[in-house]
């Protein structure tokens, strides 16, 4: 593993070069939606982050980034899957929610695979094999997540134990 601070991901570095990785944009999404006085806000944002203005590609989005599949059933499958896949460069958003180019390219990838008849499960597995469970909002049951899945049962057991203790002890009166 390499030094952490140099490769800070999502926050654009003050002088581009400081960040090892290029955060794959966020500004295009802002630009297309905001107008008028909000431009001042955007300008402030740019000033605040000092993100290099050239640090975004000039290609149009991939065909299926913003275009639905013609078959509604397939589109529904793709949409459901995309909502449970995590955007890699705008962490905390699903690829369905993000306007980052990489998220758009991933939507294109998902829709293309669905259109070709692949199952959502297979596509999720395909991505997990590359990015790890991190990319999925549907964590599997394994060593790392066992506590997560079992905690409700655990708390229920503790609650029952306390409740029964209280009820049984209640007859004996307070010490």
């Amino acid at each position: 593993m390499r030094g952490a601070p140099l490769f800070n991901w999502c926050i654009p570095a003050k002088a581009g070069i400081q960040s090892g990785h290029e955060p794959r944009e966020r500004h295009r999404a802002l630009g297309s939606r905001l107008r008028g006085s909000t431009l001042v806000f955007v300008a402030t944002l740019f000033a605040a982050f000092g993100a290099p203005a050239t640090a975004q590609d000039r290609l149009p989005p991939a065909p299926y980034a913003y275009q639905q599949l013609a078959d509604p059933a397939k589109e529904a499958k793709a949409k459901a899957l995309m909502e449970t896949l995590r955007c890699l460069v705008c962490q905390g958003q699903s690829i369905a929610d993000s306007d980052a180019p990489l998220a758009g390219d991933m939507r294109h990838e998902v829709r293309t695979k669905i259109a070709a008849g692949e199952s959502p499960d297979a596509i999720r597995k395909w991505l997990v094999a590359r990015y790890g469970n991190w990319v999925s909002y549907d964590p599997p049951f394994d060593g790392a997540t066992a506590l997560l899945w079992l905690a409700p049962l655990l708390f229920l057991a503790v609650g029952l134990w306390l409740a029964f203790g209280r009820l049984r002890g209640g007859g004996g009166g307070e010490p």
């Binding site: 990785h21 290029e22 290609l59 390219d105 294109h108 990838e109 590359r130 990015y131």
Partner: protein, 176 residues
């Protein structure tokens, strides 16, 4: 006597939680997502040339017996410029380097090579990031160390620094 101490348990739990939140707010979580596609063969792809005068890149090019670097870059990526001298040094030392240009236009790639030099034997154009996704890569620049059989042995996320050059050369040498 014991029951009085029990009263403090919720406060202690709250203090712990508060401490945990403050910690995470001040020390953000490590957000690098490493590729899991390591010690696996290069995914199959056949990318057209990213710009005139340099050949495109297909996965079968990467299994010619020589260990090499596959560098994921883009002309719009500013850190990639900082990486150029190190790639030049590796190239000069005889390391074969192939490139994959992400979401790029031919004229921009040409300008990038003019300004920063061209250490690449071939450059494939990955217009929709499909090869990048198939590699489990999430940004630029990234560099994959690939052995002579086309098996990916390591992923380097971020800029290759001067200090990294000897280690990379030693690792590639060991793969021969």
């Amino acid at each position: 006597m014991r029951s009085r101490w029990v009263l403090f348990v919720p406060l202690a739990i709250m203090a712990l939680l508060f401490g945990a939140f403050v910690y995470r707010l001040t020390v953000p979580a490590e957000t690098l997502i490493e590729s899991q596609w390591i010690d696996k063969p290069m995914p199959l792809f056949d990318l057209p040339p990213a710009t005139g005068g340099v050949a495109g890149l297909k996965s079968s090019d990467l299994a010619d017996g020589r260990p090499r670097l596959v560098n994921i870059f883009a002309s719009w990526c500013i850190p990639c410029r900082a990486e150029a001298p190190q790639l030049e040094a590796l190239k000069a030392a005889g390391v074969p380097i192939d490139g994959i240009a992400i979401r790029d236009r031919p004229e921009d790639v040409a300008a990038f090579l003019r300004e920063n030099g061209n250490p690449f034997d071939r450059i494939g154009a990955d217009v929709q990031s499909s090869v990048q996704i198939a590699l489990g890569s999430s940004g630029v620049p990234e560099t994959f160390l690939v052995d002579g059989k086309g098996i990916i042995r390591e992923q380097i996320q971020g800029v290759i620094l001067q200090d990294d050059v000897p280690r990379i050369m030693a690792k590639l040498e060991a793969m021969k």
